[in-house]
Symmetry: C2
Subunit: 218 residues, 2 copies
DNA sequence: CAATAATGACTGACCAGTCAGTTATTATAG
DNA sequence: CTATAATAACTGACTGGTCAGTCATTATTG
């Protein structure tokens, strides 16, 4: 086949670009309206093609959905894993970098809709949920857990229960990205990361960092 | 009319009980499959009646949805507001009581599905989202914010940005209840409140309680 | 003029909402 | 205490619209 990587950007034939254009359009609509309520005609229209074209690149609505979820996972994971190696001698900075990096690479991008979408549809697509759990959630948690464990080893972080602490730590970030894709319209104030993130890091770190007179509950 | 409040419990005619039975069945299915993917035939079947009966009590699928969301709000709010009055002289205990109370009254009950449902459908039902935001979210936040402010006034809680701290504090609880209604099957470990909640309170409080040598980030 | 890309009218299944009819309960009459 | 009428609760077959998925046709390109 003659050079398939040409992608003339303004010509009509854009075989190479179509799948990701369609997946991006689908992500937006799935996040906005939900999987079941999204019309494939609308997805195609948003991507500037007809429904027939969509079926040239995806077998079914379900396979489009799977592509939407799968897309963009690898670069994020790779970035996290490289951070881990770079910062393993400063576990607290590593932890901050992982959480802030998640926000930059996911929370602040188009990908932020994926958590909401996956949460909404996990029970309708159990196999996909299992895939996502193994390839994204578990791997992400392992990174944060690793940072906590390094910090605990070196006496920088208090001896917390690591698995549940990881969840507690991720929850505010996930929730913020979920919120921005749902209640943003009637609750714009709640969706200001520049206000939320510093408070988040402050609360989280001052609970995690080992300090002399850490008190118990009254 | 002769006594309409009789409600023979096992006879076939149960006019009084039907709406809540239907709403409960609908909540379960909406949370499980999503609003759009839920069939009214299925809701009716789960409530042990036919679809025709459902339409005796609700005008439309949408009004059923609204009833599902509205149901059970008032008792929860009332409980929160009474807690506030009872415990206003011990703000830290008040904060714990509000958060733990939310878990007991919402997180650990059928109502736990409502956050997920509202998040998934907020953009499809903007008026309902606004209602929910005003009547539930804002009022709930006001309670937690009040507890924080009392604690700050009395020097028991650090001077954090209250609005964003409230969100950060609620996020792990909301996330846990959302998780239990979505990824529970493939991630049962993550859904153990007996493990998660103590870690949550530990992390949260040790970040909030004023302590002598509270350090800044490195 | 191939070969490949794209189209949009079409179809068959599905489902929200309706309504004429059925069954149970209560009231009234004989 | 039947028999009959009146009412209230409920049913499920039906309809009209919607939408995922198909395919014969048209457009574009080399």
């Amino acid at each position: 086949m003659s050079d398939p990587v040409r992608a003339r950007s303004n010509g009509r034939r854009r075989k190479e670009a179509r799948p990701s254009e369609l997946a991006e359009a689908a992500l937006g609509l799935f996040v906005e309206k939900g999987y079941a309520a999204t019309r494939l005609d609308e997805v195609a229209a948003r991507a500037g093609v007809s429904k027939g074209t969509l079926y040239l690149y995806f077998d079914s609505k379900e396979s489009l959905f799977k592509a939407v979820i799968t897309m963009g996972i690898d670069p994020v994971m790779a970035r996290g894993e490289s951070m881990f190696e770079e910062l393993r001698d400063d576990p607290v900075a590593l932890l901050r970098a992982l959480l802030a990096g998640w926000w930059e690479l996911v929370g602040a991008t188009e990908l932020a809709g994926i958590p909401k979408l996956m949460i909404a549809e996990a029970r309708n697509f159990p196999e996909l949920a299992r895939f996502y759990h193994e390839e994204v959630i578990s791997r992400g948690r392992a990174l944060v857990a690793g940072a906590l464990e390094l910090g605990i080893e070196r006496g920088l972080i208090r001896r917390v229960d690591v698995p549940s602490a990881v969840q507690v730590l991720m929850a505010p970030l996930l929730m913020l990205s979920v919120w921005r894709t749902s209640f943003a319209v009637c609750d714009a104030d709640a969706c200001r990361p520049e206000k939320y993130l510093p408070t988040y890091f402050d609360l989280i770190l001052n609970g995690l960092l080992v300090r002399p007179g850490a008190g118990e509950l009254p």
